[in-house]
Each structure stands twice: as C-alpha cells, then as structure tokens.
Amino acid sequence: MSFTSPDTAPDAAPIIKARGLTKVFDKHIAVNGIDLSIAPGRIVGIVGPNGAGKTTALNSILGLTPYQGELSVLGRDPWTERDELMRDVCFIADVAVLPRWMRVSQALDYVDGVHPRFNRAQAEGFLAKTTIKRSSKVAELSKGMVMQLHLALVMAIDAKLLVLDEPTLGLDILFQKQFYESLIHDYYDKERTILIATHHIDEVQHVLTDVIFVDGGKIVLSCSTTDFESHFFELLVRPDDLAAARELGPIHERHTFGRSVFLYRDADPEALATLGDVRTPSLSDVFVAVVTNQPSTIKGAA
C-alpha cells in the first residue's frame, strides 16, 4: 500500500492549534508545554512510548480532560465547548469500548438517532462487507469484528476530525492491515484530518502525512513524512569505511548481521553514498535514535 501526501496549503487555518498545552496530574506532568498546529487534510501519527503523554494530549483535544495552556480545535475550546465540538469530531478511544450488551442493530439505531452527520446507508454498506450479523450482541463478536463495527459506525459519520488512540491494539495483523486500508480507501478524502496515536510505528508509517514523536510529555520531533525522507538517511556502512562514516556524525549506530547501520539527520546523501548503501530509515529506528538522543551502540545478534 502506498500513499502520497496531499500538500495542503500551509496557510490553511489549522484544525488543531495548541500553545503551551500542559496537563499535570497530582505531581506527574503528563503533557509538558506542547506547541502544535495541524492543518486540515493531514493524517498525523503521534508516536511515543507508553506514558509519553499521547493519550493525555488526545484527551485534551477531545475535551475529555481540562488542561493548561491554549488549545483550539476547529476554532473551539474543547473543554468549554465540547458539546458543539463533538458534532464535527469523532474518535475511537479503544477497540473494546462498544457496550457489550448492545446489538449491532441497536448500535446503528442509536448512532443514527443521536448523530446529525451519521449516514446509516453508508454504515450498512461497510457492515455488508463483513460477516457481522445485525442481531448479534457486541459481546458475541470477536475483537476484530468489534473493531469492524466501530469503524463502520465512525466512518459513516461525516466528521472533520477523527482521532484514533491505539486503534488496533490487540488485533491480529490481518485486522490491523484491514483497519488502515479501510481508513485510507473508504474514509480519508483529503479534507478530513485524522490523528492516530500509537506505539506500533511501522504499522502506520505508510498511511501518515505527518509524524510527531512525543516522549516525556514533550514533542521531540515533528515533521511531514516527505520531509522525513529528505532529512533522515540510513547508511549500511562498508566495513572499511566505518571511521569515515562516523566522521559524518551519525545520530545512531547499530550492528546487525555483521553490518553496521548508521542513522543520519540532515547529512549529504551523496557523501553518504560513497560509504555504502543509503536508504530511508524506518520510523521506529529514527524514533529510537531521537528519543535516546545520543549516539549509542546496540549490539545485535551478530
């Protein structure tokens, strides 16, 4: 699956704008002064380890929790104007949150009843592609089917912003792939904005237009995936050129299967090419490098 990012005009009014967004629980600082500006039509991955503050930041954006700092979502304050905001914002917080007693038909009836932007025919269409029966209770569905149902409900809502927090946690690989494929092919239309928080980086890499790395409540890297490809390079260093490669200042080194793999930020790709094979690194490798933030050597199973 390949996906090219639509480069929306940078001057388009941002869907989400945050300045100094902070959230403190008792003594623990979950979100520590985040600045953020997300333009419409982007698919943004918020990537970070557990406890990095991803969910807390998303909960602030969704008006589920009060916060300090400035935050505006679709021009509204999510904490004080949540009721209005939720007509244009939708989210899947967890695959397992559909009430277990509810029947599939009741879920359709209910969302149709309360959501002015729900297109029931569309949801029925998505469900028709699955094996989910209308008369089944959520409790009787497998975890993957609950995800399909939830996605069918959410994708039939004409929202401007969709927020997904670890949407595929606990799903097998087939369902994970299907989830993101449906999202991109059946839902995303270049006007909607999708925000995905996950720590399964490689699974979302191909669908994102932007990526934000968070750690310890702060943003450690924020860039578009096209920028990412022009800023980060991975070099499979020829054994004879190790010293020369090190001179160019890799931000991370690892050694696997007898090869040394160096990661560079903002290096000259032509200079790197003389020392070995250059390729685009995976998000997870860059994430590890940026978060540990120092050249370190991780010994692989050589």
């Binding site: 009721d83 509810m102 309360v114």
Partner: protein, 290 residues
Amino acid sequence: MKSTNTRRPVRLFYWSVRRELWEHRSLYFAPLIVAVVSMIGAFGAVVPGVVASLAKVATLNPMQQTSQLSAPYSAVAVLVMITSVLVGCFYCLDALHGERRDRSILFWKSLPVSDATTVLAKASIPMLVLPLMVFVIITAAQLVIVFVSTAVVLAHGMSAATLWSKLPFAKMPVGLFYFLVVTALWYAPVYAWLLFVSVWAKRGTFVWAVVPPLAALALVSAGSGSSDVKAFLRSRLIGAFEHGFTTDSSEQTLPDPSKLLSNPELWIGLLIAAGLVFATVRLRRRREPL
C-alpha cells in the same frame, strides 16, 4: 440535517432513554414478573374467596365492602410498586458506574450527547419512565383480576353487579397515578443521591450509598436523641403514602395534593435532588474509565 435545531434536544433525550431501556431490561421485566406472580397469587387465594366475600359483604357497611373487595387490587399494586422502587435504586447505583467499569463511557462520549442530557435521561428512568411503566403494568394486572373475578362470580351463577358496583373503578387508577407521582417526588433525593454515588465512587458503590448517610444520621442522633433520626428515616423511606394522602373522618383514604405541596420536607428534598443531579452532571464531565 435530520432534525431541526429545536427538536434536537428532544431527539437526543429520547434516544438516551431508549438506550437505557435496552441495557437495563430488568427495569420492566422485574415489575412485570412481580405483577404476574402476584396476580396468580390473587387468583389462587382471593378469587375463589370472592364468592364467599360477596356473600359476606352484604353484612358490611359500604366502605368496608369496597375495601374488602379491592384488597387484591391494592396488594398487586403495592408489590409492583415496591419492586419498581428497588429496581430504580439499583439502576441508579449502577447507571454511571457501569459505563466506567466496562469503558463504554468512551463510546458514549464520542457522540454528540452532552453530559447533562445523559444524566437527565438516566435520572428520568426512576422518576418518570419507571412510574409510567408501573402505572400501565398495575392497571393491566388489575383489569385482568376484574375480568377473572367476574368470570368466577358468573360461573357460580351469581350476579356480578355487587362486585362491579363496589369496586372504585375511577378512583383506583387516579389514586394509583397520584401515588406514583408522590412516590417519584418523595424519592427524588434518594435516586439523585444514588446517581451521585454512581458517578463519584470508584468502587463499593453500595457501601458509599448506604454508610455515609447512616453514619451522618448516627452522629446527629448521638447529639440529639435517636427518635428524630428514626422519624426522619421512616418519613423519607416509607412515608410517601402518609405525606400524600389524608384519611378522612369516615376512614376513607383520599389523595391530598395540598398537604403534600405544603410540606417543606418535599421541597427541601427536591432542592437536594436538583443539587445532586447538577453535581452528577459536573462530575461526569471529568469521568474516565475506571
């Protein structure tokens, strides 16, 4: 748009109530089962006796005749009402706790239904929806008993005229409806307290619902003398009937709205209920899965 802006709050409220009834089917099954069982009890014990009592009522004064003949109808009504109050209490205690336990609160909050709508819909279940359902159930059960008793009387070759003339057909449903309104108003602070506990407590909702009020009352009673506390509990928990009805000189029990409405205890209770519901809305705003 599917609905105009003015109709939208009604629509949201309607669907919020419907979803409560989908989830908590015991709300109508429990009173229904009790109605059926007590009806069968009425057939077994009272209906065969209706022949004997019809023969006997002739010797009683008119007031006693009516109370004797309407006894099974009152018994069914009382049993179903007690059930509905208990079901309403347990419903309230779980209403805002269950959604946090099973994490479904995240689904509810992903839809454009405000916390106020959600909490008011839940509060309306014991205060409005349940009383209406109970009225229908009890009235239906009473009609069944009337028809079965009539059939029994006719089968014995007797005239049903005495039975029909002595039964307070108009008074029973009116009195029942009024009593349901009184009960709902009188128990409003109890239901609101239980809703508040269900949104506030992390665990042990039953203990939190029962122990703090009892402890507070125990403290008050230690200071003032226990008879006040006993009287308060009695009045609040089983006093709805005596606050809403008057027994006149001929020992006839009549609805007395002016007595009810002039009772400051009613208004204090309603004020407390409103405060608790408001606090519940505010608390749900910040609630997350447990």
